[in-house]
Symmetry: C2
DNA sequence: GCTTGAACCTCCAGCCACCAGAGGCTTTAT
DNA sequence: ATAAAGCCTCTGGTGGCTGGAGGTTCAAGC
């Protein structure tokens, strides 16, 4: 039987985060001691590990909910999980592309700045005038 | 003289966002009509363009505040603006590296999944067992 | 058995950078 | 004169947590 603190340590989660997951129904309500403290077993450890690992891979919580549901039904088709992972991959690739464009632009700013007064600062100049940008970096989100 | 709506259109900003910027002191309080509607001039247009462009390059609002301040004082040294841009570049590069690791992992998951029941799903299996990961993808943040 | 101190409890507020909607007023065009 | 588009303020929500206040419980040492 694990306390919330040791569960937190084992999974690299903050205690508050575990309580938060319980609050939004992502983690089940665990058993309690007579005094009202939470106690966890192996099932909860596995579930939390799954959640944390999915988070590290960038899946949002509502998607993780779906993945957990799939994982709880071993006879369902795998297609859905596969589709979710593919979507995530696509998003990661889009974000990569955007970040690369940003990097290019920032590098250019920094390289062209040769010190001096801010009046002649290349960094500020580029920020002032969007038309100087070579790359398109329209919406962010990452 | 621009209405808030036309300023929004020109800069690709939502109207509410402009009011938000005003509320947090990033944009100045503009002049008003007799009826209380905001009217903007070219200075505000320039300032908002600067803000939006900086946002697109991923600078957070408090950093943009610094950049605006530097831009308002043409005789200050350029070093600070340069340092800010370099920091941002570094952060972008870190995020790129993390995203690349994620992409690798997601690709592997997707490639290894050959359909079937969720019980045998490679995607779910990898999520369950972190030790199968080749790459380290510790904290996210993007 | 008693005391200490670490870990637990609940509840509330805040972070970032907005976005949406309710309910009402102003402007502009016809 | 009227209509509709756009403006106003104010409130509350988003995602995914994180921190703190103020109080209780647990486990270990004496």
């Amino acid at each position: 039987m694990l306390t919330i603190g040791s569960l937190a340590k084992k999974t690299g989660t903050k205690v508050q985060t575990i309580r938060y997951y319980e609050q939004i129904g992502l983690m089940p309500e665990p058993g309690r001691t007579g005094g009202g403290q939470r106690r966890y077993g192996d099932a909860e450890l596995d579930r939390l590990s799954f959640i944390r690992h999915s988070r590290q891979l960038g899946f949002p919580l509502d998607v993780i909910r779906e993945l957990l549901d799939l994982s709880d039904h071993p006879d369902k088709s795998c297609d859905e999980a596969d589709a979710i992972a593919r979507r995530q991959l696509k998003q990661v690739e889009q974000r990569l592309a955007r970040l690369k464009a940003l990097r290019t632009e920032l590098k250019r700013m920094v390289h062209e700045c040769s010190g001096g007064r801010t009046a002649d600062c290349r960094v500020l100049e580029v920020l002032r005038d969007h038309t100087e940008c070579l790359t398109q970096h329209d919406q962010m989100g990452a």
